[in-house]
Amino acid sequence: METKEFTIKWGMAIDLDKCTGCGACMVACQAENNLAPIADASNKIKVMNWITVYELSNGKPYPEHDVAYLPRPCQQCGHPPCVSVCPVIATDKNEEGGIVSQVTPRCIGCRYCMAACPYHARYFNWRDPVWPGGLEKALTPDVSVRPRGVVEKCTFCHHRWMAAKDKAIVEGRDPMDLPEGEYVTSCTEACPNGAITFGDLNNEEHEVAKLASSKYAHRLLERLGADTQVYYVSRREWVLRQLDNYLEDEKVKG
């Protein structure tokens, strides 16, 4: 299957050597995208998170042990497995920017996309969202609240891109030529360690494009061929090795 090409390809490079697993990205994402809180968040299968921070271990005993944290948003695949299985085109990869869309009013909740996604980046609303104690007053107007029965996922804060384009048009600038940093996702913005770099992978001037071509940049399960737009950067071999399924004696690039 050919990858659909776009003039702009929004992408992310996450430096796993800089992430300390603090969770600021997860909180910022929920507040920005109107995810509902949940009293018991320990059942990770039922909890909705558009970005989740996983803990990685080098598997060695103390004192050789090393730890890393891997934030996982939707990987925005070049040819997304979720799109081809959606019976109602609720999810598509058809818009300039290369963001995999998620049209929740169109979603019928069949969850084929969840089964197809190799990154577990999709979440199903088993229940209606509840914001207790007046918490709904802090909802942003940017992202519709989703009812039960539909699937949702990270959209690279698509509303922020729309807002940046609108602003450029109003100011008489070319909306397809936004300066670097004018549109970033909420998690990128929040990260105090600067672990997340966001920008146009097709624009060589953008930092993210440079990082994506680094020898230390890998993608999650790269050999599945999903051609994802999220890159992970680490100078640690053991970290890069965990991003895909390698044979024991197989060398990892970087």
Partner: protein, 690 residues
């Protein structure tokens, strides 16, 4: 009448035709589809014009600078502020949830009175102020004030009220601030220790959780961000010494496993090696310090701390080779450290020539106090809340007749909270100024809702950890979401009725005076600007504090066979906030399952204890006991159990209450020899299967 086969089929065909001809099945099907799809109410987006207000967090210990996004007049997001020195384009997991905390289900919505049968009774502000005034008058000089604010001028107001009524009992909740202030005072220092982490080229954090919770953490993390360009070799080496491979260790370039509470010993071990390599300090007690440091040979340090001689030597060499090295000290859980720890760390900085140098330690000037009868920071640092409560508990001093708690939650947040709660029982009248119905508020007779930092005027002066003098205002971005009144206004009103002369009629006047004292421009502060100054406090006759260190270390408690290492993470909140609603999703799978918390130990320790992952265990010591399940994490030192702080709330809401247990139950208070500072960074524990 017999029904034959033909008759039966006729009947079925007739009935089928009849049923299909009526609208009933279609109506039922329609209704079923409607009613099964008739979703309960979910909120709709409310649009409005966007605006942004710059302010500073009073809720997050990092004093995070932030921009609040408003839609219409509704605050919706707390965003990082690129131009703020205490944000530098980042936000903590706690500050990011601050807007949502305005609507937290556990907010105190109106003044409450605890009735005789234990129920809360809503009362008016007039009645509440009357009760407060009468009880403060009745208590006279037998009153104590406890503040949970480290950086606000409200401490001058509270301590001023205490002093005006003839009491010396004003205390701030324990943190890294008091040992640091007392250490600098013991050095004959003037001002507050500041750390120029941005300009350092080698950072050694001894226990200080600098990338998660220590000091002005967003500034630390911005310095880390700058010095660690993505996919490139770091330009500054960060080394973290502590018992657990914490978030700071995960970011640091090297984790140096060192037992909890042994930071001073590691520092002295390094000092010894530096002195042997020719380093010296022009201080009157250098000879005494040299003799003290000489006792801490690499072998001795290894036996006490777990840091191998080779590692210690390597760190000492790296430090001496660096041009602008910086050593930061603290405890991995932000409290319970002794004065000697800060002294030892500062001594290493002085040996490295990093005191007063760019990228090193500075003495920051503090603004003079503006409430004449109030206490300044050095006076406050001498007031040890844990020691005071312990003395009451032991019957050495009488319990006060009244206690006033300002945004402080000692019933949850102090070591041995059960003992602290018993002390509370001895106090006839307790009042809590609080935003949330926390454990302390639940133990109080009067609960007065305060607006959050986003809903009131407040200030932040030079938080501990920052590298330059600083002053900024927190400004209300929205009306108070509950029927709250700023505590400062309530207290000033009550103080005037009690004929106390604090010199100011409103808190805004106090803040204006403070801003002027700090050298800041009020008008620009009101526009969200902040004041910084690179001025340093003049020093004369600076000592190393060798005698203090010597006494403290000679009597330092020995590490137990099995010890606990509390770990602080800001995403799990503070005693004042508990776990904010959005933040419990950030708790990892093997940190909490339903209401059971996990504690972490390495595989060797687990084998020695005869436990495996998920086993239920009971951790017990002389202070108390908690129950938890076992998680195996190899990033924990041998014979150490890492326990997360922030669990085990018995108050607040469904996002915090009843989740896990409070590690403070296991922390035993001791007193540092020589300084008398209460310390609780070393705690032994026994483990049994539950």
């Amino acid at each position: 009448m017999a029904v034959d086969r033909r008759g039966f089929l006729k009947f079925v065909a007739g009935a089928t035709t009849g049923v299909l001809a009526t609208p009933v099945p279609w109506k039922l099907l329609d209704d079923a589809s409607i009613w099964t799809q008739n979703w309960s109410w979910i909120p709709r987006n409310v649009d409005g014009e966007n605006s942004y207000i710059s302010t500073i967090s009073k809720l997050c210990p990092s004093a995070a600078g932030m921009k609040i996004r408003l839609v219409g007049n509704r605050p919706v997001r707390a965003l990082p502020d690129d131009n703020h020195p205490l944000s530098m384009g980042g936000i903590t997991a706690l500050a990011a949830a601050e807007v949502q905390l305005m609507y937290s289900p556990s907010r105190v919505k109106r003044p409450l009175k605890h009735s005789g049968d234990g129920a809360y009774v809503a009362i008016s502000w007039e009645e509440a102020e009357k009760i407060l005034k009468e009880n403060l008058r009745r208590a006279g000089s037998k009153i104590a004030y406890v503040s949970g604010d480290e950086t606000g001028t409200i401490n001058e107001l509270l301590s001023g009220m205490a002093k005006e009524s003839g009491s010396e009992d004003f205390y701030v909740m324990p943190s890294e601030v008091q040992p640091a202030a007392r250490a600098f005072a013991a050095m004959n220092g003037n001002g507050q220790l500041g750390y120029d982490i941005e300009n350092s080229d080698y950072v050694l954090a001894l226990g200080a959780n600098i990338l998660e919770s220590w000091g002005t953490v967003l500034r630390n993390r911005a310095a880390f961000k700058q010095s660690h360009p993505a996919a490139e070799k770091p330009t500054v080496k960060y080394v973290y010494a502590g018992p657990v491979q914490s978030n700071t260790a995960a970011g640091a370039d090297e984790w140096l496993p060192a037992k909890s509470g042994t930071e001073a010993i590691v520092a002295l071990g390094i000092a010894n090696l530096l002195i042997k390599a020719g380093a010296s300090v022009n201080a009157p007690d250098f000879a005494e310090f040299k003799a003290l440091a000489a006792q801490f040979t690499p072998q001795k340090v290894a036996s006490l701390t777990g840091v191998t001689p080779a590692k210690l030597k390597a760190i000492a060499v790296e430090l001496s080779k660096a041009e602008r090295p910086l050593v930061l000290t603290g405890s991995e859980f932000g409290q319970g450290t002794g004065v000697a720890t800060v002294l030892a760390g500062t001594a290493v900085n002085m040996l490295l020539g990093s005191f007063g140098r760019e990228g090193g330690v500075k003495a920051l000037p503090l603004a003079p106090k503006v409430i004449a009868s109030g206490m300044d920071r050095s006076e406050i640092a001498d007031k040890d809340l844990v020691a005071y409560l312990s003395r009451i508990s032991a019957g050495k001093v009488p319990a006060p007749r009244a206690m006033v708690f300002y945004e402080a939650n000692p019933v949850y947040g102090l070591p041995q909270p059960a003992a602290m709660a018993k002390v509370m029982d001895k106090v006839p009248f307790k009042v809590a100024f609080t935003s949330f119905l926390d454990e302390t508020a639940q133990a109080c007779d009067l609960i007065l809702p305060t607006p959050l930092g986003l809903e009131r005027f407040d200030d932040v002066e030079t938080p501990y950890g920052i590298g330059q003098a600083f002053y900024a205002l927190a400004r209300p971005v929205a009306p108070c979401a509950v029927d709250g009144k700023p505590a400062a206004d309530v207290l000033l009103n009550v103080a005037s009725q009690l004929n106390m002369d604090l010199g100011f009629a409103t808190y805004e006047e106090v803040l204006q005076a403070k801003a002027e004292a700090a050298g800041a421009d009020w008008d620009s502060l009101m526009e969200g600007e902040f004041f910084t100054s690179d001025a340093v406090a003049e020093q004369s006759g600076l000592r190393l504090g060798a005698a203090v260190m010597g006494k403290a270390l000679a009597a330092a408690p020995k590490a137990a066979k099995l010890s606990i290492a509390p770990v602080q993470k800001l995403n799990i909140g503070t005693p004042n906030t508990a776990i904010p609603p959005y933040n419990n999703k950030t708790i990892r799978r093997w940190e909490l399952q339903k209401n059971e918390m996990y504690v972490a130990m390495n595989g060797a320790t687990a084998r020695e204890l005869g436990v495996v992952k998920h086993d239920r265990i009971k951790l017990t010591n002389s202070s108390g006991s908690i129950q938890a399940r076992v998680n195996i994490f190899e990033g924990v030192m041998p014979n150490t159990i890492a326990v997360l702080m922030g669990f085990g709330h018995t108050a607040f809401d469904e996002f915090s209450k009843g989740k896990g247990e409070n590690v403070m139950e296991l922390l035993t208070v001791g007193y540092e020899a020589g300084t008398g500072q209460s310390v609780w960074n070393v705690a032994g524990v026994n483990v049994s299967k539950a």
